[in-house]
């Protein structure tokens, strides 16, 4: 592509200088805006701070991106020794990193909230646009008189609505990408720290970290079952190192030998203790699972029993209703019957009396 702008500007200047006073003075932006405000009836302008806020939003996102890029390397750097000197400039301690995590997440949440506010504002503004009248004789006539195309103002409102909608989608995409990039480095850091913990577990050389490691070692076997292969390879490496060490320095004094032996015994007891704890934990987990299974089974049977109880209940209710009905029928029939008998008796009594009277 070729940039014709300088040539173009040249032409404009030449024309202006040639035509001299016959041309209006070149209006600058302020004058154009004044002209525009005068004719504001023709140019509908929505007076709100939407554009400014969107630009600010974008700048915040850009700043966040730069921040992520800048802290990426110190954030991912891993410290081997816990007592690192605080004066080291480019490294971040674990506390710093956690704080960065929290604050970043908080900031992102705020941005999401702001974006949703902007979206609801747009939705409300759009709902205020009057809809085209759909039915009615008057609109039929109007439709014939007016243009087929929508009116200028309506077109403007529609266009600016879709423009703003696209702007908000764009901002959402940008925010998502910042969020994702931060999550990526967060994940990396977490996985690296996990690997490091498992390595500490195998680290024989650091005597002063024994206490720290013992505390760690109780938890880490549970936390890192997928790193079994890693442990195995590091164990192999350690064995190699030991063997090399032994080969290089074959002569130890008796004292050093006994010292090494006691150390070995301590490590061995530590390991067996850990193994026992692990086994205990495993068996308790298995017990818990079994109990859970039994509980669920019992719950299931209870559920079935309750269901059958309820069924029975319903059945009983139905039976009782039927029974009531038949009883009622029976009583009414009986009533009729007794009524009849009683009246018959009375009539017969009167008849006998009457016959008796007559016969006398």
């Amino acid at each position: 592509m070729t940039d014709l702008t300088p040539l173009f500007q040249q032409c404009v200047e030449i024309v202006q200088s040639e035509l001299g006073g016959g041309v209006k003075d070149d209006l600058d932006s302020r004058q154009v805006r004044k002209l525009r405000n005068k004719n504001s009836k023709n140019y509908p302008v929505i007076k709100d701070t939407f554009d400014k806020e969107c630009y600010e939003f974008y700048n915040i996102i850009a700043d966040l991106n730069q921040f992520v890029a800048v802290i990426k390397s110190p954030y991912l750097a891993v410290n081997d020794e816990p007592q690192i000197s605080k004066s080291a400039l480019n490294s971040l301690s674990v506390d710093d990193k956690n704080r960065i995590d929290e604050e970043f997440k908080y900031k992102i949440q705020q941005l999401y909230k702001k974006l949703s506010l902007l979206q609801s504002y747009e939705a409300k503004r759009n709902s205020l646009i009057p809809k085209v009248p759909e039915s009615g004789i008057s609109s039929f006539f109007f439709k014939n008189i007016l243009d087929d195309e929508p009116s200028d103002q309506r077109l403007f409102l529609l266009t600016i609505g879709s423009h703003r909608e696209k702007v908000l989608t764009f901002l959402m995409q940008a925010l998502d990408s910042v969020n994702k990039s931060f999550e990526v480095i967060q994940k990396k850091r977490n996985s690296r720290e996990k690997q490091l913990e498992s390595l500490n577990f195998q680290n024989f050389d650091e005597d002063e970290d024994l206490n720290y490691n013992e505390f760690n070692n109780v938890l880490s076997p549970i936390a890192s079952p997928p790193l079994n292969t890693l442990e195995q390879t590091t164990a192999l490496e350690q064995e190699e190192q030991m063997r090399q060490l032994q080969y290089q320095q074959p002569q130890y004094t008796q004292q050093q030998l006994s010292l090494l032996e006691t150390e070995n015994k301590e490590f061995l007891t530590m390991k067996t203790n850990q193994l026992k704890q692990v086994e205990k934990v495993q068996s308790s987990i298995v017990d818990i699972i079994n109990i859970q299974n039994e509980l669920s089974f019992k719950l299931q049977t209870q559920g079935e029993q309750i269901n059958s109880l309820m069924d029975n209940n319903d059945q009983v209710q139905v039976d009782v209703q039927m029974g009531n009905k038949t009883l009622n029928k029976a009583t009414s029939r009986n009533k009729r019957g007794t009524n009849m008998i009683v009246t018959m008796c009375i009539i017969m009594g009167f008849l006998i009396l009457f016959v008796d009277r007559i016969s006398f």
């Binding site: 014709l4 030449i14 879709s162």
Partner: protein
């Protein structure tokens, strides 16, 4: 960066949308704070065709374009928003821009022309701008040199219809020819500038190719001598631009093909990366129309569009299975599948769910692409069966075999489910072109045609017969005779395992709509898997690019070609040298098709040789039916 022509065009377009600044055009990455982020894009019809073939609305949004509209439509003023114009450099567009400027429709104006704007128009534009008094609003004016349409990575078209008709009609006057040649040369200039490497020109003599070549040479010299255009890259080897006339091979324009991409463009419509399907249902006579858009990142199309049809069906099935496996894997990970998941302190669960959430959009995209292609394949199978297209393909491949004449006669009287008279005519035209048919045979066929299909237009047949006589005199058809023997075979032996599964898979794909006819198609496929042949155009390209391996007849032919070098000082027309090239740009004046494109790409990417880069283009990429209509017109006028 994607080094193909399409990649370069996308890069230029995105750079333009980024206001011709350096830096990543994808503004959602927000790598730094920008002053101008959201813009409006105004196009005209030609530039919209260019843009929509390669960029979608999402891509535009990522570059910050919120609203796009046509320059001639009613546009609403957006006084606070900057605007990018991407239009052709003609007077109407310029007047429209001036009108927008005077009415203060937008905040700042960035103007990009698709091709080079000529000096008078630029001055006129500047004059009007300065009269309006708002020249400070015009921030940039650029020539982008992008008036060509790229669909496949190495395929481009200038979108100039009916060139073949106009060049071969007797009544075209010199002025029209001159303006057409000029337009073609402009389009080629844009392509060359986008590729950023000035080629050597070889052109076929005695036709429009020669004119275009000389014009292009002049334009390139002008462009290079302009001090503001500095060509870099003198270290790279220069490519060769091969200009050919359509007369070199008419049979490939009519051919039926077995390759997925060619079939789609033949049976349906494939233009500007949009496929227009028509599906016939059993109830109605009228077809239902569906449109599909092909994204440049469509993984299925990029991988399989150049394969023959049965392979594509197989691969579609394989991809569907891979997708199902992946989906199952992802959903399994979020459930409890092993003891370790009960462990509370591990965050494997959340990690797995996070992974699933990340993979979901990618998986659903894959599914939509696969669904689209399955639909297309099913529709293709329907059409194949209804029109017996496989028979035509067979006849065309075996054109030299004397039995095919009889076969064709039988086929001619056969009825098909849907009207395939045009396909029959096409096959007949190919037979006429490739083989010297006896006169009685031609008359017999003509009579049968007229009896059976009285409404069919036979002007094209007359034209082709005349063309054949003419070409016998000028010996162009020599290429066709030799190429049928110089086929390079690549083992394409499909085993029966492939084909026995094929019919059941096809059945499954189309949801049981096709019944017994499918097994017959499958068996025919089995009987006939074609050897790969070289089209005449490929042998010409081979002769120019790789003279050591080409056949003698094609070498003799191409030695006559014109040789021009825009960078050489002094006179043109040095004697041609036999030199091998690694990159080339092949341009056919009068029309191109996907079959030649695929053939060239196959030749360029042969498995045991170093790969060459071949870009194929034409004045218009058209389907066989369109070319048939042009031949009809030619036959009518002569």
């Amino acid at each position: 960066m994607d080094e193909s022509l399409r990649g370069k065009q996308i890069a230029t377009l995105e750079r333009m949308l980024h206001l011709n600044k350096d830096g990543s055009p994808d503004l959602t990455l927000a790598s730094r704070s920008e002053e101008i982020i959201w813009k409006v894009l105004v196009l005209d019809t030609k530039s919209r065709a260019v843009l929509s073939s390669v960029l979608r609305v999402n891509d535009l949004l990522r570059c910050g374009i919120t609203v796009h509209s046509l320059i001639n439509s009613k546009r609403t003023p957006l006084p606070e928003v900057p605007v990018i114009y991407f239009v052709e450099p003609n007077i109407d567009n310029v007047l429209q821009i001036i009108d927008d400027l005077e009415n203060d429709r937008y905040d700042s104006f960035y103007i990009n022309f698709t091709a080079s704007i000529n000096r008078e128009l630029l001055e006129e534009f500047a004059k009007k701008v300065s009269i309006s008094g708002r020249s400070f609003k015009i921030k940039q004016v650029f020539d982008q040199y992008l008036d060509f349409i790229v669909t496949e990575p190495n395929l481009f078209s200038l979108d100039l219809p009916k060139i073949f008709t106009q060049f071969n009609k007797a009544g075209t006057d010199e002025d029209t020819i001159h303006s057409l040649v000029d337009r073609i040369a402009n389009g080629l200039l844009s392509t060359i500038i986008t590729l950023e490497n000035v080629p050597l020109i070889r052109a076929q003599q005695g036709g429009p190719a020669e004119f275009v070549a000389t014009q292009l040479d002049l334009k390139l010299r002008d462009y290079l001598s302009n001090s503001r255009n500095s060509p870099n890259q003198s270290i790279q080897q220069r490519p060769v631009l091969i200009l050919l006339d359509r007369n070199i091979d008419l049979s490939s324009m009519f051919a039926h093909s077995w390759i997925y991409q060619c079939m789609v463009s033949d049976v349906f419509k494939l233009q500007r990366n949009t496929i227009k399907l028509h599906k016939y249902s059993k109830d109605s006579d009228k077809p239902t129309l569906t449109n599909y858009d092909l994204d440049p990142r469509d993984f299925f199309w990029n991988k399989y569009s150049q394969l023959p049809f049965p392979d594509v069906v197989e691969s579609a099935d394989a991809e569907l299975n891979t997708y199902k496996n992946d989906a199952r894997e992802v959903t399994n990970k979020t459930g409890i599948s092993s003891l370790k998941d009960i462990d509370p302190s591990a965050d494997n669960d959340t990690a797995n769910i996070q992974q699933a959430v990340e993979k979901l959009p990618e998986l659903s995209n894959r599914k939509t692409t696969l669904d689209m292609h399955m639909d297309i394949l099913a529709a293709l199978i329907n059409e194949l069966q209804a029109k017996n297209l496989d028979k035509f393909f067979e006849i065309e491949q075996n054109a030299n075999d004397p039995k095919t004449e009889k076969e064709f006669l039988e086929l001619l009287v056969q009825e098909a489910e849907r009207d395939n008279s045009v396909d029959k005519l096409r096959t007949f035209l190919i037979l006429t072109l490739l083989v010297d048919l006896p006169k009685e045979y031609i008359d017999k066929v003509k009579k049968t045609f007229i009896n059976k299909y009285p409404e069919l237009n036979f002007d094209s047949l007359n034209y082709i017969l005349k063309f054949k006589e003419h070409s016998k005199l000028t010996n162009i058809s020599a290429l066709n005779d030799t190429t049928t023997q110089s086929s390079y075979s690549s083992a394409n032996n499909n085993t029966s395992a492939l084909l026995s599964g094929l019919s059941s898979k096809l059945y499954g794909l189309t949801e049981g709509k096709i019944s017994g006819g499918l097994s017959s198609i499958a068996s025919k496929i089995k009987n006939f898997i074609p050897e790969k042949k070289q089209l005449p155009i490929t042998s010409v390209v081979e002769a120019i690019m790789d003279p050591n391996n080409a056949s003698n007849t094609s070498m003799q032919l191409t030695d006559d070609y014109l040789y021009l070098d825009p960078k050489a000082r002094g006179g043109h027309s040095k004697p041609p040298r036999r030199q091998s090239y690694n990159e080339s740009l092949v341009f056919v004046i009068g029309g191109g098709n996907y079959l030649e494109y695929q053939n060239l790409q196959e030749w360029a990417n042969q498995p045991n040789k170093p790969s060459k880069k071949v870009i194929y283009g034409s004045t218009d990429i058209m389907s066989a039916n369109d070319f048939l209509l042009e031949c009809n017109e030619l036959g009518k006028s002569s």
